[in-house]
Subunit: 275 residues, 2 copies
C-alpha cells in the first residue's frame, strides 16, 4: 500500500493515541505527513511534538487550528487575537505548511452573522504581520453552513476567496471536501483559488447518508457521496499537488477502531477513491 | 394575541393532530392560514381536507411537497414526474398558493451532484405545463446544504434563482429562514428574488445551538441565532407581504408538547420576534 501523497490529520486517531504514538504509527506505515491539533501538541509538549515530527521526517501539512476570532466584546476579540499569535508561533516551531483558520461563528447572544464576518476580517488582519514574520501562511477554512452559528461564519469557498482577496494576496484557503462538496459553482471557485495561488491545503473524508451527528459523523473515503477523484482532479488542475490530508471526526465508528486499522484503511481508501 | 399574517405548516403539529383537528385548532386561535403535507392529506382524505380548509376560511400558503425529481434511472425519474402531477392536482384541489418543491438529492449509488442538478431542471420542465394548466405556481425551495445528499441538491437562494431563471419567469422560490439564513450575499439574493417576482412563500423557525439532530431539531422562533425581524424586513422590502409560515420539525421538543401550547407559542413568538 502506497501512502505517497497522503497526510493524516491527527484528529482522525485522537481517541486512540497521543501525538507521539500517532506520528510513529504513521511513519511505520509509510505515511510521511501529518497535521496535529493544538490540544494534542499541548498534551504532548511543543518541544516533544516538534522532535517526534522531525525525527520521523514528517511534513506538517497544517496546524489545527487558529481562528475563532468572533466574540461578544472587544476583550474577547483581543484575547482571540493574542491566542492566534501563540498558535502561529507553535505552527512555526512545528514547521507547519500553514495555520488552518476556523474563523468563529455568531457570538453568544448575537444574531448578527454579517457583523461576525466583519470581526473575522479584523481578526485576520490583526495577526497577519505576526504570521508573516513567523513565515506561517494563514489558510482560511470555509466550514459547512451547518457550522455557521457556532464554529465558522465563512461557509463557502467563494466566500473564503472573497475574504482572502479583501485581506491580502498571501492569505489562502484550506479546502476540505466535507465542507464544500455541495457548493454550486465549485469547479469555478477551485480554479479561481488556483489562479490566485491560494490553495494551501486539501482535506478529505466523505459525507455519509444518513449523517447521524452534525459534528462527529464524518465518513471514511468511499463510504459516502463525494466524488473524491473528480474533486482531486479539480484541485490538481488548479495547480495544487500537496498531500491529501485525511480528517475524520467519527465518535461512533472510526474513533472506536484500533488506530492501526484506521490508518491502514485510510491508505487503502486513498489509493482506491482519491487519485 | 394577534395571528394576522401567520400561517402554520401542519408538519409543526403532525404528531399531535390529524389534518382536520389541526385546521380547527388553528381556526380557534385566529390563525387564518395553513400549509398541509401530502401524507396528512392522504390520511384525512383529499375531499375532507379541502372541505375543512374551506369551512374554516383558511388560506393555503403552500402544499408540501412536490419535487424529489432525482433518481438513478429513467423509470424512477418518470415516476417522480408522474407523482408531481398528482401533487399539483391535489394542490389545486386545496387551493394552495404554490406547490413547494424539495427537489431531490444525489441518487442512490451516485456521486454526481451536478448530474442530479440537471435532473432537477428536467423534472421541473416536465411538469411545468401541468402546473400552469392547474394554476398551481411551482416554488423551488433551496434546502440547507446539509440536505444536499439526500433531500435537495439546490442549496442556496442564489442557486434556486439561477435555476428558476433558466426554466421560466413563472417559477418561483419558497424562502425558509432555516435553510438560507447563513447564505453569503443573502440580502442581494432576496432583493433579486423580489425584482424577479419569484417569492412565493416565506417559512420561519429558528436555528438552535447546539443542533442535536440534522433533520428533526428545528427551533421555535426566538430560541436560536436567526434575526427573524431583519429577515422579514428583507422579504417585505422585496415586495412579498404574504403570511410567515411556521415550519418546525422537532422530535425531541415541540412534537412532544400539547398542540394548543405549540400554536399559542407560535403566535406569541411570531409577534415578539418576527415582525
Amino acid at each position: 500500500m502506497n501512502a505517497q501523497g497522503l497526510s493524516i490529520n491527527l484528529a482522525t486517531v485522537r481517541e486512540q493515541w497521543n501525538l507521539g504514538e500517532a506520528v510513529e504509527a504513521c511513519a511505520k506505515l509509510g505515511i510521511k505527513a501529518v497535521d496535529p491539533w493544538r490540544d494534542q501538541v499541548a498534551k504532548f509538549g511543543l518541544n516533544n511534538s516538534a522532535k517526534v515530527i522531525k525525527d520521523n521526517g514528517m511534513q506538517v501539512t497544517g496546524y489545527c487550528r487558529g481562528g475563532m476570532f468572533t466574540a461578544s466584546d472587544a476583550k474577547g476579540r483581543a484575547a482571540a487575537i493574542d491566542d492566534n499569535k501563540h498558535a502561529i508561533d507553535e505552527a512555526a516551531a512545528l514547521g507547519a505548511d500553514c495555520l488552518v483558520l476556523v474563523v468563529g461563528g455568531v457570538p453568544q447572544g448575537s444574531k448578527d452573522i454579517e457583523g461576525a464576518r466583519l470581526q473575522v476580517a479584523e481578526g485576520i488582519n490583526a495577526v497577519l504581520d505576526h504570521a508573516r514574520a513567523a513565515k506561517v501562511p494563514l489558510a482560511i477554512e470555509p466550514l459547512h453552513p451547518m457550522y455557521a452559528a457556532d464554529r465558522a461564519c465563512v461557509n463557502t469557498l467563494r466566500q473564503a476567496l472573497d475574504l482572502a482577496g479583501q485581506i491580502a494576496p498571501d492569505v489562502g484557503v484550506a479546502i476540505d471536501v466535507y465542507h464544500v462538496w455541495w457548493e454550486p459553482g465549485l469547479a469555478e471557485q477551485i480554479a479561481r483559488a488556483g489562479r490566485e495561488k491560494r490553495i494551501f491545503a486539501h482535506h478529505i473524508c466523505d459525507w455519509l447518508v444518513p449523517t447521524k451527528d452534525i459534528l462527529l459523523d464524518r465518513g471514511m473515503m468511499g463510504d459516502g457521496v463525494i466524488d473524491l477523484k473528480a474533486f482531486r482532479g479539480m484541485i490538481e488542475g488548479a495547480g495544487f499537488h500537496g498531500p491529501q490530508e485525511v480528517e475524520i471526526f467519527s465518535a461512533g465508528d472510526w474513533w472506536k477502531k484500533p488506530g492501526e486499522q484506521v490508518l491502514k484503511t485510510c491508505i487503502e481508501r486513498y489509493n482506491k477513491f482519491c487519485k
